[in-house]
């Protein structure tokens, strides 16, 4: 290797180190790009329908989205907030009830196994631990509240930042793509433009699929819950729909709330809710998603879980939220660049001489 090549290698390593230390900024940038992609998809649809200029289409779609958002907020949020507050109030009661149920079960099992003495011992230790935990918990909760307020502020700023960058990118996406293309070697620019276009297409078709399947889950959960006669239907259905964006983890979390509400009525109802959610989830993952998503965008379930784990470790909570779009993009990049352009030519080169 020559001196210039070594220099290039070291420069690339330094750039990678810099990117690693800036990964928080990068994940925000990616979130903005995903949002901008969603906006661009809407703008493209509007433009095709109305046959107008891009600026006008952007304005129309922004206004339409704002209108839709305000209508949804005005229609859904007040009952949602009301129900959500009720939900939060009922959670401790439900937790206490679950505790007593658990305790009864443990009592019975230990009585069967060890007799009365063990039961007394368990009861004593349980009471001690619960009484000492009480006073310390107040201070901790106050600290937690203060930390939460701080987190909320910085989260709001991050959200604003992401929205601003997404808007800026959506105004002139071609300029940003050209800048990205200029940073590649000139023999690869045409191909890179193609890969970027494919990434965009995969992202927008993934977003369309997720939107449809989330709507289906919300509607199905709402119908099921109202059939079962569980309270707080709207809040729970909305939660189920929104958390459906995060696979595996989201549906699990969304099951907790309706189960705790149903537990207040009777344990059997909670079991019924659990069954309902399992059925809805299976319907979603085996029937709705395969028929809605395009074939190229589909990820294997194991791959999804791995991606979630890896991106959560790398980027924190935002990584968990963005794990799927990241995985979709990475899939396209790996398939096009690594497999098509790097690995496939190897075999041909070996066969030719």
């Amino acid at each position: 290797m020559k001196f210039g090549q070594w220099l290039g290698l070291i420069a690339v390593a330094a750039a990678l180190l810099l990117l690693w230390s800036l990964r928080d900024v990068l994940i925000h940038l990616f979130a903005a790009v995903v949002l901008a992609m969603a906006l661009c998809t809407v703008v493209g649809a509007v433009r095709e329908r109305l046959q107008c200029r891009r600026g006008l289409a952007l304005l129309i779609s922004l206004l339409g989205l704002a209108l839709l958002l305000t209508v949804t907020v005005a229609a859904v949020v007040p009952p949602f907030v009301e129900q959500f507050r009720e939900l939060i109030q009922q959670l401790p009661v439900a937790a206490a009830k679950a505790m007593t149920l658990l305790r009864q079960a443990m009592d019975q099992s230990s009585r069967m196994l060890y007799g009365q003495e063990a039961l007394n011992w368990i009861r004593q230790t349980w009471d001690e631990s619960s009484s000492t935990g009480g006073s310390a918990a107040v201070g901790q909760s106050l600290q937690g509240l203060l930390g939460l307020a701080g987190n909320l502020g910085s989260g709001l700023i991050q959200l604003l930042f992401v929205l601003a960058v997404a808007l800026m990118i959506a105004v002139q996406p071609a300029a940003y793509r050209e800048v990205a293309v200029l940073l590649a070697p000139s023999f690869y620019r045409r191909r890179l433009r193609e890969v970027l276009r494919l990434c965009g297409e995969a992202l927008s078709s993934w977003m369309g699929g997720v939107l449809i399947s989330s709507l289906c889950v919300a509607v199905l959960a709402g119908i099921g819950l109202s059939l079962l006669g569980v309270k707080l239907v709207v809040a729970n259905a909305l939660l189920a729909g929104m958390l459906n964006i995060i696979p595996n983890v989201g549906p699990t979390i969304s099951t907790i709330f309706p189960m705790s509400v149903a537990l207040l009525v009777s344990p059997w109802k909670a079991l019924a809710v659990l069954g309902l959610y399992v059925i809805v989830q299976n319907l979603e993952s085996y029937l709705i998603t395969p028929s809605v998503m395009h074939h190229q965008v589909q990820l294997l379930p194991g791959l999804t879980l791995t991606a979630q784990f890896v991106f959560t470790v790398l980027f924190g909570p935002l990584g968990l939220l963005l794990a799927l779009p990241l995985a979709v993009c990475l899939q396209v990049v790996i398939r096009e660049i690594l497999i098509h352009d790097v690995l496939d030519p190897w075999r041909q080169r070996r066969l030719t001489p």
Partner: protein, 333 residues
């Protein structure tokens, strides 16, 4: 690879690590370069229209600047001092007012009570320590600023020899290119600074006039702060709006709304009309690039990084356009 190449490579790596360790010093140095370019623009203009040599022209410019600052200060200082005094008196009232507005939310009232309970004597001791640390930081900052100004003066006094020094440190076959690069960076930085100065003064005058017309107290101070913070795009104007907003909130919420609308109109006019027209000939920055650069440099270097982010991006854009794109990537066929 020969031994010579290996040693050179090792030297470069060590140099890079050293530069990373000394990034604060480098930041001060960069600030001095920016300041020097800002001084160099009027100096070279003065030299073109008159027959002064460089030190004389620099002396004239510095004297003019000091004189202008003095005149402005004499004109505005009494009012400013009065207004600052007013402001320090008003600040607790503002906090109270905001507290009242926010305290209306039932949930936060208990929190407020608890917060008041926290502010007892034993909590004040670390606060004192913090204050001392803050004072030390401020002194440190003042020393750094003085150093920066001195360095800038030295750089303006004899830019040619400093330029030659930088050129001599590059390989012989790159020297013409490096010279070209340096002058391109100087051009871009000078253009950016001139454009931003014009737009900052426009913002200052308009804000002052608007706030005075709305009869908001502390109009001059607010206008000055808003004008100065225009040099830090996207983040600066947002922060600058808080001061007149807080003062106006004291008078009435309706006035605060008017001030907010005024600032929004002014800032958007500045960002989307004035700055693009002024900078269209010299520097063409995408808006997201500026925002991302501020965030990244803020994460890497803290507040000074945010303040110097835009000039740094202007220079980096020229460098990456000329070196990375034209010299490396375009030729890689």
């Amino acid at each position: 690879m020969t031994l010579r190449g290996l040693i050179g490579l090792l030297g470069l790596v060590v140099l890079g690590l050293l530069a990373w360790e000394l990034r604060w010093v480098l930041l001060v140095l960069f600030g001095a370069v920016v300041l020097a370019v800002a001084l160099d623009v009027p100096v070279s203009w003065l030299r073109r229209i008159s027959r002064l040599n460089r030190p004389q022209a620099l002396a004239v410019v510095v004297a003019l600047l000091v004189l202008g600052g003095w005149q402005l200060g004499e004109l505005l200082l009494p009012e400013l001092v009065e207004q600052v005094k007013q402001f320090t008196q008003l600040m607790p009232a503002v906090i109270n007012r905001v507290g009242q507005l926010v305290g209306g939310v039932a949930m936060l009232e208990s929190l407020e009570g608890r917060l008041a309970g926290f502010a007892t004597l034993d909590k004040l001791q670390p606060l004192g320590g913090q204050l001392l640390g803050f004072a030390g930081g401020a002194a440190n900052g003042v020393i750094q600023l003085l150093l920066m100004g001195l360095l800038a003066l030295l750089l303006v006094l004899d830019p040619r020899s400093h330029q030659r020094l930088v050129l001599a440190a590059t390989p012989a076959h790159y020297r013409p290119l490096a010279g070209e690069l340096l002058s391109a960076c100087r051009q871009a930085l000078g253009g950016w600074l001139a454009g931003m100065t014009i737009s900052a003064s426009a913002v200052f005058l308009l804000t002052w006039a608007g706030l005075a017309a709305l009869k908001v107290p502390l109009a001059l101070l607010s206008g000055l702060v808003c004008g100065l913070l225009t040099f830090v795009p996207t983040i600066g104007p947002t922060v600058a709006t808080l001061l007149p907003l807080a003062v106006a909130l004291l008078v009435s919420p309706a006035l605060a709304l008017q001030v907010l609308i005024l600032r929004l109109v002014l800032q958007n006019g500045e960002a989307f009309l004035l700055t693009p027209i002024l900078l269209s000939r010299t520097v063409n920055l995408l808006p997201t690039v500026a925002l991302m650069a501020q965030l990244s440099l803020g994460a890497l270097l803290g507040l000074p990084g945010v303040l110097l982010a835009l000039p740094l991006v202007v220079v980096l854009q020229v460098l990456s356009q000329r070196v990375l794109v034209e010299q490396i990537m375009d030729r890689w066929i």
